[in-house]
């Protein structure tokens, strides 16, 4: 029982006997550590410094010493270093790259080797704030906290806000039907969907306004997210609203997924193949389900199910989201089994490639670059894996098979909850939660495999941030519609004008 032993030793400290951690003797040959270069650089918050930080370790004769482990720590400002421990090379030099944290002002990194003269070596860098006005918040629409806003879908100048127990709000943000605009959203209607079989409340989570091939815009698909056990079970039904009259939507159909392996199954995000009138829905532990949504929809949609697939298999499937790529394949982000490519044939799905390729973190949202050669997935939370502070960048080969290309760390957050690439592929929005760095992040995709942060709008809280975001062009300007968590400041639809920021 080490804690008791140490406590007794510490009690002896009161009597004059020292206690404390033993320190390992330094490397026999190494005696000093000193900076080579790297201190004093400046950059924008959240970006990497141009030059690496370097130290040199020498012996008593001032000769460089190789193989000494140097411990690098981002000690002030919330930034990150490329390696926590970096051994010296033959030239005695250890170097790391430093990505500034989200806090403007002076930031610091230390390089340390216990027992060496000069240790620790402190590097400072100046983090400049993002220029005010780059991302312009044009409107904040408070949402009653029951619990709040989860997702937004924008099309034809209408913003569909999915607001948990408040139901579905429809705002005119430039459609013209009610004279609204992004800076002056006008509420068209509010509809509370039915409570699903295993949910305690409407728990309205997400949606998609279906534009059928013939031009009909009759149906709004709504996902409900009830209680779940991440990795094992989920709840929540699919609801279909007839929005022929946008001012008075009417629920006309629903689908309740049966249990799988004795666990309840609920819906999450979805994507539509509108030309073929197929809805693909992520169903967490139920995998992916495809529906035929052609024609008139009413009542129970069980007969509309085309196919189901659990790409990771039983016990290794918990699908967050799906998206059709430009090649017609369906891409799947599974919290447990990673990123998949599925073939589709009239809604029938089959695994083509990928899977079991993200083991360090849980997956979250996804987006396929319109060039079809690159994809991005977010990462989520914690549990038994590392915190979800990365964007995974995937290279898709000629057949669309994914290979992990790189990981972009979003400093100061615990979850990257949403990603979306602009329709022209030139930039990407990311929303993040939980930490000093939480908020809206915009990345330049001049090189799609190497996103570069171009702006960050902080919506920071230890217990919240921005949960989701989507972009739309209205009256020639580009906006991001984002869902703010209960913290900070209460749930709200935040509308940003990003026209002057994006490439």
């Amino acid at each position: 029982m080490p804690v008791v032993a140490r406590s007794l030793l510490c009690l002896l400290l009161v009597l004059g006997v020292a206690c404390g951690d033993e320190t390992a003797p330094p490397d026999n040959a190494a005696t000093t550590i000193a900076e080579v270069d790297g201190s004093g650089q400046a950059a924008t918050v959240g970006t990497a410094l141009a030059a690496p930080l370097r130290v040199v370790v020498r012996d008593a004769q001032s000769d460089p010493v190789a193989g000494v482990d140097v411990v690098w720590t981002a000690s002030l400002g919330g930034g990150s270093v490329s390696a926590g421990v970096q051994p010296t090379g033959a030239d005695g030099i250890s170097s790391v790259n430093f990505t500034l944290g989200p806090l403007a002002g002076q930031q610091q990194v230390t390089a340390a080797v216990v027992g060496l003269d000069g240790s620790p070596v402190a590097f400072t860098a100046t983090a400049s704030p993002v220029a005010a006005g780059d991302i312009a918040l044009v409107k904040e629409v408070p949402i009653p906290p029951h619990y709040g806003i989860h997702d937004t879908f924008v099309r034809d100048g209408l913003a569909f806000v999915f607001a948990w127990d408040e139901g579905v709000y429809i705002f005119d943000v430039g459609n013209g039907m009610s004279g609204g605009s992004p800076s002056n959203p006008v509420q068209v209607s509010k509809t509370v969907t039915a409570v699903g079989a295993n949910s305690p409340s409407p728990s309205v989570h997400n949606g998609w306004w279906f534009h059928a091939p013939g031009g009909e815009k009759r149906y709004l698909f709504v996902g409900e997210e009830g209680p779940g056990l991440v990795g094992t079970s989920s709840t929540g039904d699919l609801h279909v609203l007839d929005v022929s009259n946008l001012a008075a939507p009417l629920e006309v159909a629903t689908y309740h997924h049966p249990d799988v392996d004795a666990e309840t199954v609920g819906i999450h995000n979805f994507w539509m193949d509108e030309p073929n009138q197929i809805l693909y829905a992520a169903y967490y532990n139920g995998g992916v389900v495809s529906f035929d949504v052609s024609g008139t929809l009413s009542g129970d949609l069980s007969s509309r199910v085309i196919d189901e697939i659990r790409p990771g298999g039983a016990g290794n499937t918990f699908v967050w989201g799906v998206m059709l790529g430009p090649d017609g394949d369906l891409y799947v982000s599974d919290m447990l089994s990673g990123f998949w490519q599925l073939g589709t044939a009239g809604g029938a799905m089959s695994p083509l490639a990928g899977g079991n390729n993200v083991t360090d973190r849980f997956g979250s949202d996804l987006w396929i670059h319109p060039d079809g050669a690159v994809a991005y997935t977010g990462t989520w939370g914690g549990g038994s894996r590392m915190t979800g502070n990365q964007i995974k960048v995937w290279s898709l080969d000629g057949s669309g098979a994914p290979t992990l290309s790189s990981s972009v760390t979003v400093a100061g957050v615990s979850t990257v909850s949403d990603v979306e690439v602009s329709s022209d592929g030139s930039w990407m929005l990311v929303t993040s939660e939980y930490g000093d760095g939480a908020g809206l992040h915009l990345y330049d995709l001049a090189n799609p495999l190497a996103p570069v942060l171009i702006d960050h709008y902080p919506v920071a809280s230890p217990s919240g941030g921005l949960h989701t975001g989507t972009t739309a062009t209205i009256a020639g300007r580009t906006y991001v519609f984002a869902a703010r968590d209960p913290a900070p400041g209460g749930p709200a639809l935040m509308i940003f004008d990003v026209t002057d920021v994006i490439p």
Partner: protein, 418 residues
């Protein structure tokens, strides 16, 4: 219906003592209590050990009785919001957004007024009404007044506290039946007050029997609306509790024992607990032991691994863990100048075994670095004036009728108390 019940409670509180013809001596007591403690835990979330020196349970109490004891008021201010704003290091504890730290209680911890009315001679049948902010008639006594300092993991399964509550209680001989209405929302910070608009959205009932001298048995049930989401968008709880309690005193010393079972269901989630504890005191020396096996939900942690989001963003959990904990405490009454000063140093240790009881994605070993967690506490209980009362019972529910009372001493349960 609920509105009528609310009005009835208030009317009863006002009317109950009205039948008393004579007013006798009034009494007012005050008291202070605090426990400076050095706590060491190994491992903490993320691995490694952590030691902290904190002042726990810093409270000021005011008690008043009037009308020959038929009207009582009690107030307790709790200053943990100032002394442990980040919580008390306490592996296994959870609730109100804290994990592996016990949350600080609200500054206005308890403000209750009770009035009771004997319906037959010597109070063999009596009725009481209680109203204020305090404990809901559900479950066992608050851990603050029990022999082991460290709160059990089951605190949020076995007690419901800091609510705006109205209680009606009927005592018939050795039995008391209580019913209450209260607000379901639990506080989210030490400054929080119950949401008045939610008063009456939750209810509880408790039946208590005193079958023999010093023996108490209770069973209770509660429906709590959205306790973890103050606006009411969270899951509702159904709670059950059963416990038996023994307290004996003789020339040889004092003996206390309690065993309880409780269960909370929230949607598809179920969390159960069993706990047994005993304490003995002989002369100045006291010893206590507690065994606990409790299940708790695992939620997504924030950047601070001791915290989870409040209000939460959905109703999902990462899994359920079961905490099996053995705790031992030894104490010495150094000063016992009651009703003035009380000083009682103590040492307390516990060993917790953590296991995952369902699939989920929470792995205790990956998170803590070990599935066994040690903790050691060195501290001193300090008290001045009125000692901690038995927290969780009001009016006629504090004990059996006088005809039984001579066989069943009802003083506070914790062995360190007067």
């Amino acid at each position: 219906m609920r509105g009528a019940l609310r009005l009835g409670l208030v009317a009863g509180l006002v009317a109950a003592p009205a039948g008393l013809a004579a007013q006798t001596e009034d009494e007012v007591t005050i008291g202070f209590h605090a426990v400076p403690a050095l706590i060491q835990v190994d491992p903490v979330p993320g691995g490694g050990e952590l030691s902290e020196l904190r002042i726990l349970h810093p409270v000021a109490m005011l008690g008043a009785t009037s009308l020959d004891g038929y009207l009582t008021a009690m107030a307790m201010l709790n200053f943990e919001g100032a002394t442990i704003p980040d919580g008390e290091l306490s592996p296994g504890s959870w609730g109100e957004g804290f994990v592996d730290r016990r949350h600080p209680h609200t500054y206005a911890h308890e403000f209750m007024v009770s009035a009771w009315q004997p319906l037959r001679a010597e109070g063999a049948v009596a009725l009481s009404f209680s109203l204020g902010k305090g404990f809901v008639p559900f479950g066992s006594d608050d851990p603050m007044t029990r022999p082991i300092l460290r709160y059990p993991v089951n605190h949020h399964l076995s007690q419901i506290l800091e609510r705006a509550v109205g209680i009606a209680a009927l005592r018939i001989g050795p039995a008391v039946l209580e019913g209450s209405l209260f607000n379901g929302d639990e506080p989210a910070s030490p400054e929080d007050w119950p949401r008045v608009k939610r008063f009456g959205d939750s209810w509880s009932g408790r039946l208590t029997l005193w079958p023999a001298a010093g023996v108490e048995v209770q069973g209770s049930y509660a429906r709590v609306a959205s306790p973890e989401h103050r606006e009411g968008a969270g899951l509702d709880s159904r709670k059950w509790s059963a416990s038996a309690r023994l307290e004996r005193s003789s020339d040889a010393g004092q003996l206390y024992a309690m065993a309880e079972w409780a269960r909370t269901s929230e949607g598809a989630f179920d969390f159960s607990t069993v706990l047994a504890e005993a304490a003995a005191r002989r002369g100045s020396f006291g010893a206590a032991y507690r065994f606990e096996r409790t299940e708790r939900p695992e939620e997504q942690r924030l950047a601070d691994p001791f915290r989870s989001a409040r209000p939460h963003h959905d109703n999902s959990t990462l899994g359920t863990t079961r905490w099996t904990i053995h705790s031992v405490s030894l104490s010495l009454t150094a000063v016992d100048d009651w009703p003035l000063l009380g000083i009682e140093p103590f040492v307390e240790g516990s060993l917790a075994q953590v296991t995952s009881v369902d699939a989920g994605v929470f792995d205790p070993v990956a998170f803590y670095g070990d599935d066994q967690i040690w903790s050691l506490t060195l501290g001193v209980r300090l008290a001045w004036g009125q000692r901690l009362h038995r927290m969780g019972r009001y009016g006629v529910a504090t004990g059996p009728s006088p005809s039984f009372e001579h066989d069943a001493p009802q003083r506070a349960p914790a062995m360190h108390q007067h």
